[in-house]
Symmetry: C2
Subunit: 303 residues, 2 copies
Amino acid sequence: MRVVIALGGNALLRRGEPLTAENQRDNVRRAARSIATVLEHGHQAVITHGNGPQVGLLALQSHAYKPSEVFPLDVLGAETEGMIGYLIEQELENAYAADAGYATLLTQIEVDPNDLAFTNPTKPVGPVFNKAEADRLAVERGWTMAPDGASFRRVVPSPTPLRIIEIGVIRRLVDQGVIVICAGGGGIPVVRCVDGMLFGVEGVIDKDRASGLLARELGADALVMLTDVDGVYNNWGTPEKQLIRAASPAQLRDREFAAGSMGPKVEAACDFVEATGGMAGIGALDDAIHILNGSTGTVIRRD
Amino acid sequence: MRVVIALGGNALLRRGEPLTAENQRDNVRRAARSIATVLEHGHQAVITHGNGPQVGLLALQSHAYKPSEVFPLDVLGAETEGMIGYLIEQELENAYAADAGYATLLTQIEVDPNDLAFTNPTKPVGPVFNKAEADRLAVERGWTMAPDGASFRRVVPSPTPLRIIEIGVIRRLVDQGVIVICAGGGGIPVVRCVDGMLFGVEGVIDKDRASGLLARELGADALVMLTDVDGVYNNWGTPEKQLIRAASPAQLRDREFAAGSMGPKVEAACDFVEATGGMAGIGALDDAIHILNGSTGTVIRRD
């Protein structure tokens, strides 16, 4: 089977953990061992990853050094593709010797310059702040801050991914058996001008939506999203919460899931299954092969 | 011809310019137009780039935000491969429509853990500082600071590149006509432990030496190094300075050139020409095709 495996930005950094290189590496190592089990079973894997905590941190670092020379989000997103892609590739190499090797590819994804997301930022990035800090950041930096539980986080525009600029090269490598790491952080959002020129825009594409687009474009058999919970729940956050072990897209479309976390995963899963007839799975970082086999997590298939 | 084109980190950021995303993009655009002329002549190009100013800046940003959680140089190097690779790929796409597309590949390069460079840092990174600032940074951060003209810069270990981990994938793509951007910042330095595991080390490989290794591994016909001067000079920095238009490796081996800038370029050029019989060229950012044709810059060939 050809499987697109999406690693959540939060799975690479557990809640409350400081975003150090060591913590990221420890979590990436766990993810790599999990992915290695999929490769050991003879499946072909294409790996994507989120970057919410990381891109927000790099924005804070850039601001802390020179507030007047802060890098835009497309450039910071490119930095996270390098940083996280490096850790994933190196730990995967250490976990599994792939015959045709690994390739981490910088990925740009075209979005619509008129996407309504640009006037309605929803994607949380970076660490959590208290109310006073959030208010100060909103005034000092012009950032949009939104509630996240009892805390606040910066939110940025998250436009819909339309077209993967490097898809030809990605398909070429995957067809030749190379294990590709791409579309990191949902891909760098770019728009194409009337004269055909590409340029980057300020936003962060949701990596689950980007992974779904990638899975469709590559004719993948499965889309597996690994995160910091063990599947999709009914009544999440209540004593009656219940893991959904299997569902059809129609069964999930009726329900509400958390925007910015489980919501986009469920949407990407449903879109992929409806469009291709393949399977989608959502579950815990360590469980990649078990989710793919349907023995744990939430599996979404056509009726 | 198959040509490896190395873009100097300083060529992507002119001396004295603030390291903003805009300034980098403007210089990358110039480089892209220059490389496009090589592609328009039907040559096959593989592009590498330096990262001295950039990796030093990211270290300062990381320190400015949380001094206790600063990222190590391998991770920062990976960030610069993403950032600079993104700008180069996007501007190249805008300058020249390549049939088989572009691929920016994260690149790790194996070094010897016992390389003497680890105890003798020589590679300048980041901005220039005055004496007082340099002394403070040396004490506060344990950095090694070295004179750079009348100023000071941080210097880091620059181990010899031995083996490009991703060479199989790079060769595969280049053979198929894809224009590859790789070995950014000289590649991320990694060592292989006795158990075969890879891990990153604190250093910055010289990008000219890495480019020379890449050119030999790919069987390139030419190695062109673009920088902020128009070639190699005799008596540089004196009124008698004189551009060397053509030379053999033997003629250049006798002379002394600036360590950390022209020295490694001349060494990489001589090594490549001696090992392969190909040609090497050194010259200004805008002159790629003219250097390749031998009509400007410094051309190094066998006698």
